[in-house]
Symmetry: C2
Subunit: 416 residues, 2 copies
């Protein structure tokens, strides 16, 4: 039996409620869950003024700058988006109950592998109230109890949102629990509660993710830092390459699937760099480069060793000239965070080699890295992008919030 040590009674009560709720949630039919999800969406809309005033209070107390403040901010249209996203999740197929495989053994035992909820899913995140609703309903749709530990600046917004969602009659007590966000202690309690919590998903910046990984005793799905690369090969259509690089770098530089590094084949470097460096500089991108890049593009500043592994998350890009495909692949496998990488090439052999040898969650041929996203992949939702190899890799949503069990049907078989 797993043991749970040094946990306050408040947190323990919440986790035990969640554990109990998980047992009930696992038994709800798809129809029951979807009906409740629609009622949750309605409840968000009905209670919008209550939600907005809690959010205003959060904003008044928070000491946050531009982008962080914007992530915390709710308004009428964002509330409407939240409610819509809950209805969208209700409309998605329910993976729970699916018979993944079944077979009969020579001794007559019939074995079925059935998809079941994970149980209790902990989510540790920052001050983004939309994650509260997102994570809670993805967990709910898959029959899991959600234990949420958001950023302290959003505590009032998160509290009221969970209250509104769980106020719907029929939602089991404990289905959505919110932990105290005033100290890091509740994070520790959540991520070490073996036996009460089945998996923890950290969503946020590198510091948060590292903290969870280093301290968790519960299994973790690591979500992703993205030091993403684009390699422009010798045979690339350079117009296409320029469009892809500019899109991947500038369309939304603060997200994990934005490109951070550009590798250019030596034979096209003179012509392509002249062009892309101007485009990127015009778009406000700060540029750094290796020695060869500096010779070809004098306005670029020198890259340090640190640049090759850094995830900028802003309008900054480092450029390296590569002797060919092999050097590009080697560079990527050395420095990338194994998130998303793309090759632009007209050579199918090179593309296949890149897709095979680059060890990342998503590998692209002739497309922007910005597509690594549950929505863009067609999953209808996203819980995060996994950069580990265990359980799931890349964008993950409903199916990845499930586990399986073996059900074995016998007629008295014993082992000899």
């Amino acid at each position: 039996m797993a043991t749970v040590t040094a946990i306050t009674s408040t947190t323990r009560e919440k986790l035990e409620r969640a554990r109990k709720a998980a047992g009930l949630l696992a038994q709800l039919s798809t129809e029951q869950k979807d009906t409740l999800l629609h009622q949750m969406a309605d409840a968000i809309e009905t209670n919008s003024s209550k939600i907005l005033s809690a959010n205003e209070e959060d904003l008044a107390h928070a000491n946050l700058s531009g982008a962080m403040r914007d992530r915390l901010l709710l308004n009428a249209s964002r509330i409407a988006e939240m409610a819509k996203s809950v209805r969208d999740v209700a409309a998605l197929p329910d993976p729970v109950g699916e018979v993944i495989e079944s077979w009969t053994r020579p001794n007559g035992l019939h074995i079925r592998k059935v998809r079941v909820p994970l149980g209790v899913v902990g989510i540790v995140y920052e001050s983004r109230p939309n994650v509260t609703v997102d994570a809670a309903v993805l967990a709910f749709k898959t029959g899991n109890a959600a234990v949420l530990r958001g950023g302290k600046e959003a505590s009032r917004s998160n509290g009221i949102l969970a209250e509104v969602l769980t106020s719907v009659p029929g939602v089991p007590v404990g289905a959505i629990e919110v932990l105290d966000s005033s100290s890091r202690e509740s994070v520790r309690e959540l991520i070490t509660a073996r036996g009460l919590v089945d998996v923890v998903v950290p969503r946020g910046g590198p510091a948060l993710i590292t903290h969870v990984i280093e301290n968790a005793l519960v299994p973790v799905i690591e979500t992703g830092a993205g030091n993403c690369h684009i390699f422009v090969d010798e045979s690339a259509d350079l117009d296409m390459a320029a469009r892809i690089v500019i899109n991947a770098k500038t369309q939304r530089p603060s997200v994990c699937n934005a490109a951070e590094k550009l590798l250019v084949h030596r034979s096209v470097a003179p012509i392509f760099l002249a062009r892309i460096v101007k485009h990127l500089a015009d778009a406000g991108v700060e540029l750094r480069g290796d020695e060869e890049t500096l010779k070809l593009a004098p306005n670029v500043s020198p890259a340090t060793e640190q640049d090759w592994s850094e995830e900028y998350l802003r309008l900054c890009m480092a450029i390296r000239v590569a002797s060919g495909l092999e050097e590009a692949i080697e560079h990527i496998n050395r420095y990338s965070t194994k998130h998303s990488e793309s090759i632009v090439t007209a050579d199918e052999n090179n593309a296949q080699k890149f897709l095979r040898l680059v060890d990342s969650a998503a590998v692209y041929w002739n497309a922007s890295t910005r597509f690594t996203d549950g929505g863009e992949f067609g999953f209808g939702a996203e819980m995060g992008v996994s950069t580990q190899k265990l359980h799931c890799r890349g964008p993950f949503a409903l199916r990845e919030l499930t586990s399986s069990k073996y059900q074995i049907f016998g007629t008295g078989q014993v082992r000899t």
Copy 2:
């Protein structure tokens, strides 16, 4: 980028060799891997005298009692079994390269989810040389590098076995690395080497598994303690129930899928207990029971609270009378290690309810819990039995030693 801290240069060199080998192993074709596996099997046979003399030296230095000593012991027939098991693995289907799913998005992006090796797999185990070969070849077949850290008593046997396997020309340097087993330090190095090791599988007793889980920074597949239950329902065929209980308890009491607890429906308890208690006692099983059991079977000693969660791994069983199915399910979900549980009943509704509500990796209707095993499930091999819900649950073998990647084929798509 993951960071690796405080690691000796010897271990670091081994892990870096394994990392490099993983890149090469991932590119081997099924045919290449199978040919090498057959040559490994041949090499085990050719070098049997060398292996046996290393093993004799291990035995001479080891201070081990009966069962432990037997697990360490190699002889001619065990060497032959080892070679056979390598050939058996060669004959199994290779999961690597399988296209798990593929689809095309409205924007024309074609997405393929492809099965790939995990990369570097660490295995921490006890003094069982057969695990060295087993784990190494399962990892090899799935294109993974194996880093092995066995028990110190088997260090000479493990060293020579790894040497023999990797002596086959064509096996990449680093494909099978053996860590120093003279101190626990190498365990810590292995399980904290994020960026160098992709997953760790602990195989052994509860102390070993707990140590790995509590100290690992690398993702772990927890393998299993089994506090397995059998519930004999009101409508059970009592002959069948007796056969199943005796088999599950006594056929091999030291393994994780052996039954440790017996729950009996109150209405059949008087007749069934009279019978089963005698059978079990005759088979040398020490019996403990709750108050109601004691009244019905006076030769049983009282069970303590500790008994309900203990995994005995020996000829001992605790018995409880249950008021019905609900109480049995509640008891199991409270005390079990979520490994294997069985209901014996003629009532299909009760069976279905049990299979649905009992939250364990393998749930049985009218069969012995002893079937929870990769071989018995038809996987042809077994790496362990997972008792966690992440990545895989229950017996796992080749497929579960893989991950996936997304390969995305575009024609210049950018995100708008």
